[in-house]
Symmetry: C2
Subunit: 444 residues, 2 copies
């Protein structure tokens, strides 16, 4: 009888196995995709792309028992040879190739994009059309390793803070935040929608676990075709009970950012270097009131606001500029947004109910988080639905949670792709989305 | 200027702050939801539900400065008093209450379910109708802590094994595995579908990161209303390149199970105890061929197979019984499924192409994973699409990945809710789904 007993250790080496140089002078096996070939005649450099980075194998006429022109970019191979030190090679090591085995052969056609170059200088459109190819560029793929680090930091930090991870349904009967901007579908002869946020579900789960989070896709049928909008994106959501005010939520998000920047510095240094990213200082993040900062940027930059109830993109840019100039901060919390522009469940301020106990987090000129305290009192919640003329049909489950007791609570939704975009200093959110979905793009 | 500088430390205590008993005899504050009240007249026990478990506060006439009948189940409160030891109380500690502050008051209506009971003896239907309430039962919610542990184990193990986490789109133009069983929606005047698996995307990303995983919802428009089917579920997917055979994939999954059982034993012992779960032994998992095990269960149990190309649910039960009796294993890999019942991208066996280099993992009588090696050769992939009469329109991106070189690879999709269900010894997958979606259920 044959049994599986755990991960099978491979004979082939990974780059991290070789960094201590203990195998220098020894024969090793290594595999990878042929990323680039530089043929100098009697010598050729075969650059392999591996998950941990690039690795240089050296073909030498007479020493290597295969022909260099048999190999081409995008083949995947296993090479056996002697490991040697070489200052000029990636990580200071290279393999002097003896034998080569093909694992797979690519088509004879030229790659549609020059992915072997350091920077992939091609249009965003071309990069997205050839996504599985363009991402093979080392710097392109590094952005998504950074994105992994952010998601990982989010989860690990929240686990440590006593949060429980939840999985809430994306198909539902009603939307969490009113009727607009939702994709609709037919669900076994019923009308259904795709969730534009896990809002109602995570609130209900605060009544169960006190603190919950979710990292999952959300869907917005918005007809914006801007550099900052996607119709499907990954939302990092948390919701926490037993708060004293929404300051607890901003503090928790600050903690997440601190933990995550530390994690990136520790485990993703290679990718930070590849992309030339300087991590932002998040030891302290200023909070300014919506109404006050509108005045301040008008005074300092002469900006005239056109919309007293929300921030225009230009205002977000100016507020971030102000935060950078005045407090040397890349992040800034803008608090107390007008009630009119916030969803029904937002808690209004007691002193002045035209404002809410809410905030946005701006990062380098763009909103990356919306958060705030929620109404937890059943009667108040019903009253606000009624005041807005909103129907409560189909959300009995949500209302039940409040009827049968909910602690004071609040939370945030963070746009993962936007946060990655700003961290990587990209100017279009599609640059940091694996397979973007927008008005015109549904594939690949 | 006010700044946020990280998580705000609270004066109120969590259960874990009190376990070392260093605060016994001291005045502390604690908050929570009133889970249960046992009123004995001059003394009453107020059981608080907190995220880490239950906590007992004691009301004493004359000592506590509030009236016990002012409080009711589902209120959320903050209680101040002296911490005392009491063997009979949860964790051997209790609070002798002095003062009480209401954080929120529940409605006067009785709770629809007796969630304060040890076992929630009510119908599944009632539990699902009142999901935000039923999950407040301590044992009900514990199942979803176990589920968190599984997801966490999956990710942490794979991070350690060099996998990159990806987020692939759930809205797409075409399905990954053929046309049936997909929800369709209108996407800005185009037809779109909801992804029934991240299969094509994770394969494309093997060409970029070598090893990838995703934990995300998938959508199946199947008209099965059984105990094991959901129309939306969480799929734990990984895909890995540079494999020698699909045995590498089974070995990786075995490694995941080993890591996860260790993690559950270490960090989720409280929940395992609550649910009386004995973790399965996963030190070795047998692998048996599809064709062979059909014969074995027919010989041993007299079962007559009706479908030579797939396993019927009864056969899965018998195979698991066989694995338990013969090898004392709760898990068993069934390998080499007939090509006819496997998707187009499955790699056929070289010796006999009517079978595939694939497997299912059965756990206590039910399939919890489907996996296998995939075709990595462009021409072979095209040929198989053609042989099956399948259209390749709209999947150019997928095919490009192969045209421009893909390593030998394979992977798995694991049903999170099913795995949780079997681990918790539940008999309906809805018991371990927060908010199930099925033919008849679209809310809450």
């Amino acid at each position: 009888m044959e049994f599986l007993e755990g991960v099978i250790k491979k004979e082939t080496k990974e780059i991290s196995d070789l960094l201590d140089k203990s195998l220098v002078g020894k024969e090793i096996k290594i595999n990878g995709a042929v990323h680039n070939i530089r043929n100098m005649g009697e010598v050729a450099f075969i650059i392999l792309r591996k998950r941990e980075g690039l690795f240089q194998a050296v073909w030498n006429e007479g020493v290597s028992d295969f022909k260099i022109n048999e190999i081409k970019e995008a083949d995947t191979v296993e090479i056996t040879g002697i490991l040697q030190e070489n200052e000029k090679a990636p990580n200071g090591i290279e393999l002097h190739a003896k034998t080569l085995k093909f694992l797979s052969k690519a088509s004879e056609e030229m790659l549609p994009l020059p992915i072997g170059k350091w920077k992939l200088k091609t249009s965003l459109e071309a990069k997205l059309n050839y996504r599985p190819i363009s991402l093979r560029n080392i710097r392109e793929r590094a952005k998504f390793r950074i994105q992994e680090g952010i998601t990982r930091g989010f989860r690990d930090f929240l686990y440590n803070q006593g949060f429980t991870e939840i999985h809430t349904p994306k198909i539902g009967a009603k939307g969490a935040e009113g009727g607009a901007n939702m994709f609709t579908l037919e669900y076994f002869h019923k009308h259904a929608i795709l969730a534009q946020s896990p809002q109602f579900y995570k609130q209900m789960m605060v009544g169960v676990f006190d603190r919950v989070f979710e990292t999952a896709p959300v869907f917005r049928a918005e007809k914006h075709n801007t550099k900052r909008h996607l119709n499907e994106y990954t939302s990092l959501d948390f919701e926490m009970g037993y708060i004293d005010s929404f300051e607890d939520i901003m503090a928790m998000e600050t903690g997440f950012l601190q933990y995550t920047m530390d994690l990136l510095a520790k485990d993703y240094q290679k990718e930070l270097n590849l992309l030339n990213i300087t991590l932002p200082n998040v030891s302290k993040i200023p909070q300014v009131k919506f109404a006050d900062i509108k005045v301040k940027i008008s005074e300092k930059y002469g900006h005239k606001t056109r919309n007293p109830f929300d921030l225009e993109p230009e205002e977000e840019v100016l507020i971030s500029r102000y935060a950078k100039e005045e407090w040397d901060c890349d992040f800034v919390f803008v608090t107390h947004y007008p009630s009119k522009k916030r969803p029904v469940y937002a808690m209004d301020c007691q002193e002045d109910p035209t404002y809410t106990e809410s905030f946005d987090l701006l990062y380098k000129g763009m909103e990356v988080t919306t958060g705030g305290q929620r109404i937890h009192d059943y009667e108040k919640l019903l009253a606000k639905f009624e005041a807005r003329g909103m129907d409560t049909e189909g959300i009995d489950g949500y209302l039940d949670a409040f009827k049968y007791g909910m602690p004071p609570h609040g939370g945030v939704g963070i746009g993962l792709e936007r946060l990655t975009m700003k961290l990587c200093d990209e100017d279009n959110v599609r640059e940091t989305t694996l397979f973007p979905r927008d008005l015109s793009r549904l594939e690949p």
